[in-house]
Amino acid sequence: MDALSWGSIIVAVLGRFWPVWIALAVTYALSITFKRRLGLYGKLFDSPIGMIGFAIVMFWVFTALFADVIATHDPLSQISGMKNKLPGTPVTSGDVYPYYLFGGDNLARDVFSRMVEGSRIVVTIAPVATLFAFMVGITLGLPAGYYGGRLDTVLSFLANLILAFPVILLFYLLVTPEMVETGLPRYMAAVLFLFPIVFLAILWNSRFYVQPTLRNIYLAVTLVVGGWVYLGLAWNADPLGIIAMPANILIVFVSVVFVNSPTVFRIVRGLALEIQTRDYVAAAQTRGEGPWYIMLWEILPNARGPLIVDFCLRIGYTTILLGTLGFFGLGLEPESPDWGSTINQGRRLLSIAPHPALVPALSLMSLVLGLNLLADGLREESLKD
C-alpha cells in the first residue's frame, strides 16, 4: 500500500470526525432556529466571532464525547515499524485501521488517536477545575466585598500572597511524588472541594429558609449528593466505590484550582464592591433580607455578565496551565495522551519528526483560541444590553 497524499489525509481525517460534524450541525440548526428564546446564549449567534469561537469549542467538546468512535487506534498500543513515521503511512501488520493518519510518535503510537483521546482529559479537567475555582472565589469574594473591613484585608492579603507566587515554582513544589507522600494535596483537596457544597448549601438556605420543607429537600439533596461526591473525590473513600479520582489527576486538579481561585476572588470582590452601592441592594437591606440572600440572590446574578466572560477566558487559561504541567512532565503519567505531556515528549525530537509535537500543540492552540473568541463574542453581546 502507498502512503496517503496530503489531500487524502485531510479527507480521511474530516471523515473520521463525522459524529462531530453531525452534532455541530444539529446544535447550530437548533440554536439558530430558537435563538430569540435562549437569552444570552441565543444572542451569541448574532456575533460572527462568537459563533466561530463557539464552533471551535464545541468541536473539541464533541470530539471528547465521541473520542472512541473517532480514534483509529488505541492511544497506548504500539505497532512495530511505525516509529516516527510520517503522516499517512500505511499500517501493514494486524487487523486495524490501515493508516496512521497523522503519523507515528517515537514509541510507534498513532498521533491522531492520541490527539483525539487527549482532548478528553483536557475538556473534562479544565472546565471542572475552573468551576471549582469560581465556587471558591465567589464564596470568599462576596463576603470580602460586601462586609469589607478586617475580613477583606485578611482575605485580600492571602489572595495577593498566592498571586505573588510564581506559578511554575508552585507547581514544582506541589506536584512531586514526595509531596503526594506527605498527603498535603489531599488536605488541600479536602478544603477546596468543600466550597461547592458550602456554596450550594448557603445558596438554598438563604433563599428558602421561609419555606422549611422546600429548603430541607434542597439541603438534603445537596448534602447527600455533594457529600458522596466529596468523599469519593477528595478522600477516595466513596462508600459505593463508584466515584474516585486517581492521585496524580487529583494533585493536578487541586493545584490548578488553587492557582485560579485568587484571581476569581479579586474579580468577584471588585464586582461586589461596585454592585453593593446600587439601589436594589439598599432596597433588599430595607426589606430586612439577610446578608447572604443579598450577596447570592441580589449581587451575584447582577455580576453574571463579567463572570461568564471571565469563565470562558479562564477555561482557556486553565487549559494552558494544564499544558504547562504536562510540558514539565509534572502530575499526569508520561504515557497519558493529554496534549501537554505529548508536546513534552515530542519536543525532543523536533528535528527528526515534528508531527508528534505539532499536532497536540495546534489542537491546544485552537481550543484556547476558540474559548477566547467565544469570550469576546459574549462580551460584545452582553454589552449591548
Partner: protein
C-alpha cells in the same frame, strides 16, 4: 505619598516573609529531607542512619528555628562531636571561634547548591545575568510592537484593520510559549521546509548572542505577552478616542494624525503601563518554559534544575529572587500609576 510607600513596603516585606516560609516549609517536608540524606550519604542507608545524618547536619531542628537560621536572625547551629565542632556557619577546616554566629540571607550567605557544587549566590548572579539579556530583548521587541498594534487598532474602532489586528492579538494570547516555540522550531530551525535559518537551541547564546541563535526564544516569549498588552492598549485607546476633548479637537479641524499623536496617545498609555509592569511576573513563566525548550541556561533553567533535583538552598534562592521581582514590579506599577494619572492621589 510617604505613608503610602511605607505601608506598601511593609506589606511587601510581610508577603516576602510568608512566601519564603511557605517555600521553606514545602522544600523541607520529611520526604524531601530523606531524599537529600539519601543522595548525600548513599541511597541504601537505613531509616535510623537517615535520622542520624539529618541530626548531624542540623536538619532535625524545629522548622521555625531552621527558617530563622536560614534568614540569619537566629544563630546557626553548632555541634561538637569528638572534640570537632561543626556548624552551619563554619566552613570546612575553619576555626569555629572565628566563624560568624549568624549566617543567613540577611548576612548575604545564600547557601550552597548540592547539584552545581557552587555557592547559590554565584549561580543565581550568573544565571540572572543571562536571563536579563533575554528579558531585555523580549521587552525591546514586545512593548513597542504591542503598543503600536494596540494604538493602530484602537484609533479607528470597528474598522477592518482593527478587526484583523484584534484577531491577531487574540490568537497570540491563545498561543502559549510551548506551542509557539514548537511551531517556530519546526518551521524555522528544521530542514523540513527548507527554512532552517535559525538555530533550534540557544545554548550558544550564553557566550555569544547572535540574531540567529537568540531571535526564536525572544520571539516566542514576546508573542505570548504581546497580545495581552495590545488588547489593553486598544481598549484604553478606544476609550480615549470617544472622549469629549478628542471630539472638540476634531471639530476644531485638527488632522487625524495630530489627534492621535498629540492628544490621544499620552492618555491612552497610562493603563498599558501598569499592565506592562505586571507582565514581568508573567514573563517569568514564559522564561522558564522557553529556557527549558531552547536549552538556554538562565534563571528559569536553573529553577527547573533546582526543583527537579530537590536542591533546597538553590530553590529557596530562586524563589526569593522570583518573589522579589514580582513584588517590586507591583510596587513600581502602583507608584507609576499615581505619577502618570494626576486624578489619583494617594495620601
Amino acid at each position: 505619598m510617604f505613608g503610602f510607600l511605607l505601608r506598601r513596603f511593609g506589606t511587601m516585606v510581610l508577603t516576602a516573609l510568608c512566601l519564603t516560609f511557605v517555600v521553606f516549609y514545602l522544600t523541607n517536608l520529611p520526604p524531601n529531607l530523606e531524599k537529600i540524606a539519601k543522595t548525600e550519604a548513599g541511597s541504601r542507608i537505613s531509616d535510623a542512619e537517615v535520622q542520624s545524618w539529618l541530626e548531624k547536619n542540623g536538619y532535625a531542628q524545629p522548622i521555625l528555628v531552621r527558617y530563622g537560621e536560614w534568614l540569619g536572625v537566629i544563630p546557626g547551629w553548632t555541634r561538637t562531636e569528638d572534640g570537632v565542632t561543626t556548624g552551619r556557619c563554619i566552613a570546612r577546616g575553619q576555626d569555629p571561634a572565628e566563624a560568624a554566629t549568624r549566617c543567613g540571607v540577611i548576612q548575604g550567605y545564600w547557601g550552597f547548591s548540592n547539584v552545581f557544587k557552587e555557592p547559590v549566590s554565584e549561580i543565581i548572579g550568573k544565571r540572572l545575568g543571562l536571563t536579563g539579556w533575554l528579558m531585555l530583548f523580549v521587552m525591546l521587541l514586545m512593548v513597542p510592537s504591542a503598543l503600536i498594534i494596540g494604538v493602530v487598532a484602537g484609533m479607528r474602532e470597528g474598522s477592518r484593520l482593527d478587526r484583523s489586528l484584534s484577531t491577531f492579538s487574540i490568537a497570540s494570547t491563545a498561543t502559549p510559549e510551548y506551542v509557539s516555540g514548537v511551531v517556530f522550531i519546526t518551521l524555522f530551525a528544521t530542514p523540513m521546509l527548507g527554512m532552517n535559518w535559525f538555530k533550534g537551541t540557544a545554548t550558544s547564546a550564553a557566550d555569544d548572542i547572535t540574531f540567529w541563535n537568540f531571535f526564536l526564544p525572544v520571539l516566542t516569549i514576546a508573542l505570548y505577552g504581546m497580545g495581552y498588552i495590545a488588547r489593553m492598549t486598544r481598549a484604553s485607546m478606544t476609550e480615549v478616542m470617544t472622549a469629549q476633548y478628542i471630539r472638540t479637537a476634531r471639530l476644531k479641524g485638527v488632522s487625524f494624525r495630530n489627534i492621535v499623536l498629540k492628544h490621544a496617545l499620552r492618555n491612552a498609555l497610562i493603563a498599558p503601563f501598569t499592565v506592562i509592569m505586571l507582565q514581568f511576573a508573567w514573563l517569568l513563566n514564559g522564561v522558564v518554559i522557553v529556557e527549558t525548550l531552547f536549552n538556554y541556561k538562565g534563571f528559569g533553567w536553573t529553577l527547573v534544575q533546582a526543583a527537579g533535583n530537590n536542591d533546597i538552598e538553590l530553590l529557596l534562592g530562586c524563589s526569593v529572587v522570583a518573589v522579589f521581582v514580582v513584588l517590586v514590579t507591583q510596587l513600581i506599577s502602583d507608584i507609576g500609576y499615581v505619577y502618570l494619572n494626576p486624578r489619583i492621589r494617594i495620601g
